[in-house]
Amino acid sequence: MPAVGRTYWLTEPCRIRREDNSVRVERPDGSPVRIPITDIRDLVVFDHVDINTSALSLLSRNGVTVHILDHYGNHAGHFSPAESMSSAATVRRQVEISADDEQRLAISRSLVLATAENIRWALDTDLLDPALEALRNALPACRTNDAIMGQEGNFRRTAWAVLDSRLPPWLRMNGRTRRPPTNAGNAFISYLNALVYARLLTALRSTPLHPAIGFLHADTDRRRNTLALDLAEPFKPLFAERLLRRAASQKHLKESDFETDVGRASLSKNGRKKIAALVREELSTTVHHRGLKRQVSYEELMHLEALKVVRLCLEGTPYKPFRPWW
């Protein structure tokens, strides 16, 4: 079943108003756009947007999530409708599984391994094979999430070095930096990771799972939605690494799309728009799913990923993280 509604990306400053039972988006150039509320599944906001409570309550009633991204493309927050998809049985099992060390570690390991394999797939190189082999051998011995994340970090560093070697000098990352990203390459990766995370959060919102009870990431530091972070991992290579490579090789991105300062970089307005269009296109790319016997978009793949975790909770079917099969 295709999902009802679509994702709307607001890349320009605008004002969201309620008009009867429908949404009116007022743009600075004057022409308002009216969108039937049943056509919206969620809104991704990149820029300055005015919205008032009556619009929010309309969105909430129709189960629309609003994601807000800040200037650097980090996920700044979201507005989500009142819980309508709650299932105590699912959440109870989710808590049990994440509290049980054995099960949690098994899921963490498989997530990290799948992510690594997806990176190798995205970079399409055999330079990473030794690092992947080392990761495979090291993971079973890890008894804590920190150790697992450490192993992942080792692999990631190798992978980013390999990725750097295929980028033009101005786009190279020279080591991953966050909060704030120090150069163009890092700004791009941060931005896309935030987008993937926001998409996963939306996917989780349409399931009874609690987004804050996860398996791999530490849930102690910031108040983050750990499960969304976890499930975003295997999808990041599919978007961030892959699109960075593509944007570099197709000369789609220019240095002028970034605003670089000393020790920090972010996307310029045009760059943000360019990338939003790129990601939107990428999310609607479809592949044939053998089990469902139909084309599914990358966006739907994330939804299916969330459903796998629901199955794990309700029926105990082992969770196999996403691997591209095409």
């Binding site: 079943m1 299932s87 089990g291 939804h303 199955r311």
Partner: protein, 173 residues
Amino acid sequence: MSPGPEPPAEDQTAVGGVHIKYLVHCPRQLWLYARGYRPEQRSDLVAFGEVVDDTTFTRRRDVDLGEAKIDWVTTGAVIHETKSSRAPAPGHTAQVRHYCLLLERRGVNVRGGVVHYPLIRRTTDVVWDDGARTEAEDTEAKAQTVIAASTAPDRLLRSKCRGCSYLDYCWGD
């Protein structure tokens, strides 16, 4: 019929119309529905069914029994149900029979039921007699057994799952 915004009651087994419809089609669907996993919101077909329900027989109003929502009831206690389907299915009549049973338990003298198919402009009558009553009670008992089971029933054949809003969940791996 949609579950609507009523809170999912997971520890009590109040069997509603949707439960019966799902049981007849696929016990697994009922098991998941009863545990609160309800993806119907995302389904185009379910949304379509709601629109058909909203736009046909607009002078009638729902009868809300809490665990079940009957589309409407006419004098002599005939129970009516609208379906957006183009083919009568055993689940539809079972659902109406269940409504008859619920109303009878509330002391209403039920005469029978009608299922309306506005898209093909047909109706089917549902008789209500002793045979139907035992059948309805059996179905309800069966539903409660399925709901109480600790593991989910198996999937149907893939070809039977077409159009189901649980398809992504069952076959998405």
